[in-house]
């Protein structure tokens, strides 16, 4: 690159405007050569997460998880030294695309990791195809990225989840509880549709009925207009909230005198929001691939260490990125610390079964994790030797090795359209 710039300068110096051009070339050029210093055995990881704006704190959880692992192994992945480059996407897909291009073109990263929102993942996946770079969505959970559109993205290997993955077993669990009629309240965007859709599909297949779907806009804080419309003959309420919404709805439901059981998607009660919640969420149940209250020695150590370092309990955002770093490390071990190329690396990742904090995980043939789904109930109790009563997501049932297609099988599942506002249709809504 440096030679290139020098030739550019010398070529232009011949003409009268040479000095001016040289100045410009230098202005552009100085920062261009930054990536050149990297040694061959480096593994450059570009990490994309929101660092500013509404989702900035969630982004910090993501980064903390990844960095905790790399620090544990002192940045040494089987001989390759990890270079971690963080870019802030402000939780905006167009910004994420540009930052990904910067990471790929300027920093020459081998692997892109991250993306919080489902929409960010959808925007980043084509970049990985275009530039032939591995992309690991560690949190972004858009269903179709590893389902109907997975063929378009040969360099994508997901370490997180699909939005509807925990919803399927949860639908079955809801049937077992004897719930017959449920009202769903979901944030009005793709993630909300997919979580509700998966739940509705599984719940109705075992005899339940979704009798109403309410879609408050993403970011709703005041649920006053929505709560009174909830049908009174429902057995339970299923919610899909994210971020600040998660804090408000349970509070306002309780204030409105709700006596119905409340259950919800994983993000309604994940450990990012749980510590800020009041006692009115005790007893609420939700499914996810991770709970900080998971009773395993591995998780106990993880929670304690993370809490000591960052002063808070790890959320699934942290765990997912910790596991992602671990997964990359395991893959590098297979190749003896050598970068094997994007295609080969994804194949190596798919061949590994990782013993992660959340439990055993491996990839299915469409590059989505097969993992345990935990049904968790919010309880106020002491855990891991901490001396205060706190809210924890106690695991009450474990569905082992759940894949994204659940019991439907890949072919049958992929025949149906992706879950949306209108699919599955609300047959029992009056």
């Amino acid at each position: 690159m440096i030679e290139h710039i020098v030739t550019t300068i010398t070529r232009h110096s011949a003409n009268p405007a040479g000095s001016m051009l040289m100045g410009c070339a230098l202005a552009f050029g100085i920062s261009l050569s930054a990536a050149e210093g990297a040694r061959a055995e480096d593994l450059r990881v570009g990490f994309i997460a929101p660092m500013t704006g509404l989702f900035g704190q969630v982004g910090k959880d993501m980064v903390n998880g990844f960095e905790m692992y790399t620090e544990e192994v002192k940045g040494d992945f089987a001989g390759a030294s990890v270079k971690f480059i963080l870019e802030d996407d402000q939780a905006k897909p167009p910004v994420a695309v540009l930052k990904a291009e910067k990471l790929i073109r300027q920093d020459k990263v081998h692997i892109l990791v991250g993306g919080l929102l489902a929409s960010t993942g959808y925007a980043l996946a084509p970049v990985s195809t275009r530039d032939k770079v591995v992309y690991i969505p560690s949190v972004s959970s858009a269903d179709d990225m590893t389902q109907r559109e997975s063929a378009k993205y040969p360099y994508v290997a997901r370490t997180g989840w699909t939005s509807s993955q925990p919803s399927h077993p949860f639908g079955e669990w809801a049937c077992e509880q004897g719930y017959k009629r449920i009202v769903a309240i979901g944030a009005d965007y793709a993630f909300g549709y997919e979580v509700v859709g998966g739940f509705q599909k599984a719940f109705e297949d075992c005899g339940g009925k979704i009798i109403q779907k309410i879609w408050p806009p993403l970011g709703t804080i005041d649920f006053g207009p929505f709560i009174p419309t909830i049908k009174q003959d429902a057995d339970a309420i299923f919610t899909v909230m994210v971020g600040p919404m998660s804090l408000q709805l349970p509070k306002q439901l309780a204030a409105a005198g709700n006596k119905k059981p409340v259950i919800g998607g994983g993000t309604s009660y994940d450990e990012f929001v749980l510590p800020s919640m009041g006692d009115d969420v005790v007893g609420h149940v939700s499914p996810l691939q991770y709970s900080a209250a998971l009773d395993s020695p591995k998780n106990a150590a993880f929670v304690k260490k993370y809490r000591e370092k960052h002063g808070k309990v790890p959320s699934y955002y942290s765990e997912s990125n910790y596991t992602t770093a671990q997964w990359i490390h395991e893959a590098m071990k297979k190749t003896g610390g050598k970068w094997s190329g994007a295609e080969e690396f994804v194949r190596t990742m798919a061949s590994i079964k990782v013993d992660a904090v959340r439990g055993p995980v491996s990839l299915d043939d469409m590059m989505n994790p097969i993992q345990n789904i935990y049904i968790k109930k919010v309880e106020k109790k002491k855990m891991f030797g901490y001396d205060k009563d706190e809210l924890w997501n106690t695991v009450i049932k474990t569905y082992t090795n759940v894949d994204q297609f659940w019991k439907y099988g890949k072919d049958a599942f992929l025949k149906q359209p992706v879950y949306s506002r209108d699919y599955p249709p609300c047959k029992y809504c009056e």
Partner: protein, 331 residues
């Protein structure tokens, strides 16, 4: 006579800068060329807004709407109809311009009746309508997920190459600049300036000021639509986030930063904003303060924008420095 001399010198300066840009851009790195391309696209948007803000005196907060219309049109035609991926890209450019103009013609019926803050509010509301459509019309726009384009068009040459695409955008930018320059120098452009200075007088003189403003609004929308088409292919992705209020505010800031009523000022502002934001943000985490500081300082000390640091003021500074030097010599 002196003023034509000065404007001629200005034109030559712009031509020289453009020539340097056209020659130099391919030699930058693969990321910087993306930024230059984006800056040029936003420059078209900013110049279109300058027609309203700088020349007609109408501050619009809805210019992102036309960018959105052009971008979504390109993306929907490309993904749903596979149209616009070969030679059909040329009609798509035309369609984008027409769609932007048509949207503006519709919005203008509501907006142009108002002035000042009311105009600002109405254009803001109309812009939000387009955002609402992009966000909620899932079957057409993909909602929150947006649309991934299947790739850049391949005409006689394949635009997938970033340098090639840069030149396409560059040529269209220069063409837009030229057209808008001719427009503002025409009698029509002069009457727009008259409206900006004192609308009542223009009306008394017999000008149909509503029609003038309405046409300016449509022209601005049409160029916004063009920017949208180019934007869609620059990113390969269209998202409601592109149409959000911030984009309109950005366009407004670009014009104010560069200098309203100068056309090239908007382009300059676009370049400064894109580089400060997209490039600086990769270097330092506190880039927002710098961007904010630049805005505040410009508005405080350069109310005419960056373009008011003209050759004249530089010249004055130089002569005064020279004068001081001479004085020293005398003693």
């Amino acid at each position: 006579m002196a003023s034509t001399m000065r404007s001629q010198r200005k034109i030559w300066a712009v031509v020289a800068v453009l020539a340097v840009l056209g020659l130099l851009a391919p030699h930058t790195n693969a990321f910087v060329i993306l930024l230059i391309t984006r800056a040029l696209v936003l420059a078209i948007l900013a110049m279109s807004l300058d027609i309203l803000l700088g020349f007609t005196g109408l501050a619009s907060l809805g210019q992102a709407a036309y960018l959105g219309v052009g971008a979504y049109l390109t993306a929907i035609l490309g993904t749903k109809f596979q149209f616009g991926l070969g030679w059909s890209f040329l009609p798509v450019i035309l369609l984008g311009i027409l769609a932007g103009g048509a949207t503006a013609a519709l919005f203008g019926l509501v907006a142009v009746r108002a002035a000042g803050v009311y105009f600002l509010m109405i254009t803001l509301a109309l812009g939000q309508c387009v955002w609402g459509l992009a966000y909620r019309w899932n079957s057409m726009t993909g909602g929150d997920n947006g649309i991934n384009l299947p790739g850049r068009p391949a005409l006689a040459i394949d635009l997938a190459d970033d340098v090639t695409y840069f030149y396409v955008v560059f040529v269209l930018f220069v063409a837009s600049l030229l057209l808008l320059h001719v427009l503002v120098k025409s009698p029509f452009g002069r009457s727009l300036e008259g409206i900006r200075e004192r609308e009542l007088r223009m009306r008394i003189l017999g000008y149909n000021t509503w029609l003038h403003k309405y046409l300016a609004f449509i022209i601005a929308g049409a160029f916004g639509g063009l920017a949208g088409v180019l934007w869609a292919h620059a990113n390969g992705h269209v998202s409601p986030e592109d149409v959000v209020l911030t984009t309109s505010v950005d366009a407004l800031l670009m014009v104010v930063l560069g200098g309203a009523g100068t056309l090239v000022g908007g382009a300059l502002g676009a370049g400064v904003v894109v580089f400060l934001r997209e490039y600086l943000s990769t270097l330092v985490p506190w880039w927002q303060y710098i961007l904010g500081g630049v805005y505040v300082l410009t508005i405080l000390y350069l109310p005419g924008g960056l373009m008011s640091i003209s050759a004249r003021s530089l010249l004055r500074a130089a002569t005064s420095a020279l004068g001081r030097a001479k004085n020293i010599d005398v003693h």
